[in-house]
Amino acid sequence: MQTQFDTTMRSRPRYGVLEPRPGLAHLIVADGEGGEAVLALFAQAPELLETARVIYMPGANGTDMTAELEAVKPAQFSRVPSYAAGRQRIVKVLGDAHMGLQVYVTGTEGLMGQVQRDAMEAGLPHDAVQTEHRGSLVRRVQCVHCKGITEHVRTDPFQCGHCGLNLFVRDHYSRRLAAFQGVCVDAEDPGEVPPAVERFK
């Protein structure tokens, strides 16, 4: 199902619902439950299948819709184990593309943010990339102190996987880093760390 987000923080990204748009080519990237949104898109516009290039990775939670997606026979389908492993493919498609390419990304925030960043680096305006959130709400968070990125953050606060500081997760989001901001929670009173709450499931 689509996800509702609190929109009080204006740097927080907002996501829509994938809709077919005219274009010369269609790049579709999804992880985990994002596969459902891809199937919904194809059901709405089967003609996209003829030119669609789908890059899919199973979710960190194990959700794998490879079989369902392959079954609808998009023009090209690649299953990759993770975003990191698939990034070269995504960047290659963008680098070879002409204006008129449509980019669709669906699944977790971390994936959508990173593909949007790749598309921006290739020269597309960020709002040209369509996004739809599906699945887990785990966050990709940058530690403002050591700059290390921790993937799949579930709790607030959490311990930075790189420098070990206890970080609270701000809703402040950087498109360029494709990450939320983590700031030391006990800077003023070292050691006074509130209990971790599972905010992002």
Binding site: M9, V144, H145, K147, H172, S174, V183, C184, E188
Partner: protein, 350 residues
């Protein structure tokens, strides 16, 4: 007076030897024209102000110049990510370099000289001992990019905003004297996004109005506004990057040390439309004054007491001094006899 006599040799970390001279106290840009404060756009034309004031010139170069540039170099050596410029902002960097060099050379000819022969420029900065010849608009002739080169020689933080799609995008910045925000994190954001953490203001429509105003900002008609916060010890670099290092200082202030350690931190923010890039330059100049120096001006002492006492809790939290507010109010109340204050912030207009 020799350069060495005028410019202080002082530090903004460690032993914190930063001090304001009596003249610097008198000209301190006290930011409260009234006894209460609420977040507002409060922009006015940045035209030359009273002689001797921080508004006298487009850019204020004061007794702290050399020491502040030394502090910037120290911060950059530790963390080069404090200065970043996305590739398309280089032209705006040249615009900024031209603006600062022309202003400095015009307003402080005893310290700075700029000689132009077409695009061959010769820049002399006596206080910092710089004498460079370079080609304007040719990055290969400078030791740094144009924005970094000139902002290593100008007090205050600087950001450059690109204008497109009816918005402003913060896409370059030199930020080492900031009130707790990260240029590394915020770069690439639009106007609403980088102001997102400010409480109350969005509901008031402050940012929509400010953006509309700034999109129309014209070359040759800069504007200015104030912002303010509080800092314990005269630490210029209150960065989020180092928050875990400076955060504990807030907990060690006492009745005995507050007058010396607590500083009102004022930002004089100016905005200039840049000619060749159509970008907007946003210099954020930081001034700090200790409470014990501030209360030497009776009008400021009375007013600051009332502002701090009555500030909405969200703002005290956002500005990071909720914890010490009772201590501050207690200290300042000694200097508030309840008498009315005159409008405006000039100390002598009693």
């Amino acid at each position: 007076m020799s350069l060495d006599d005028y410019f202080h040799d002082e530090t903004y970390f460690g032993d914190f030897t930063y001090r304001n001279s009596p003249q610097a106290i008198k000209r301190f840009p006290f930011p409260f024209p009234e006894d209460d404060y609420m977040y507002s756009v409060n922009m006015e034309p940045h035209v030359p102000g009273r002689k001797g004031s921080v508004f006298e010139h487009a850019f204020d170069v004061d007794e702290h110049y050399v020491a502040q540039m030394r502090d910037r170099a120290r911060v950059l050596a530790e963390d080069p990510l404090r200065c970043q410029s996305l590739p398309h902002m280089t032209l705006a960097g040249w615009d900024l370099l031209e603006l600062i060099m022309e202003s400095f050379a015009r307003d402080y000819p005893q310290w700075f000289e700029l000689h132009k022969d077409g695009n061959r420029w010769h820049w002399i900065n006596r206080p910092l001992g710089i004498d460079d010849k370079f080609t304007f608009l040719d990055e290969s002739t400078l030791p740094y990019g144009p924005m970094e080169y000139i902002t290593r020689q100008a007090q205050g933080d600087f950001t450059l905003q690109d204008q497109r799609n009816d918005n402003l995008w913060i896409e370059a910045g030199m930020v080492t004297t900031q009130a707790d925000w990260s240029v590394d994190f915020d770069i690439g954001m639009n106007f609403h996004e980088w102001h997102a953490p400010v409480p109350l203001a969005r509901e008031m429509g402050v940012f929509d109005r400010a953006l509309k105003f700034l999109l129309q900002l014209q070359h040759g008609a800069p504007v200015r506004r104030f912002n303010w916060t509080m800092t314990v010890d005269p630490l210029l670099d209150t960065s989020p990057e180092n928050y875990h290092k400076w955060g504990p200082s807030k907990t060690t202030m006492t009745r005995e040390t507050i007058g010396r350690r607590q500083h009102l931190r004022v930002e004089l923010q100016t905005l200039f439309r840049l000619p060749r890039s159509n970008a907007i330059a946003f210099p954020i100049r930081c001034y700090m004054i200790s409470f014990q120096d501030l209360v030497t001006q009776p009008k400021w002492a009375r007013r600051l007491h009332r502002v701090i006492r009555d500030l909405p809790e969200e703002l005290a939290t956002y500005k990071g001094f909720l914890r010490n507010r009772p201590l501050m109010v207690e200290y300042l109340s000694q200097f508030d006899d309840g008498k009315p204050t005159s409008p405006g912030w000039w100390p002598e207009d009693e």
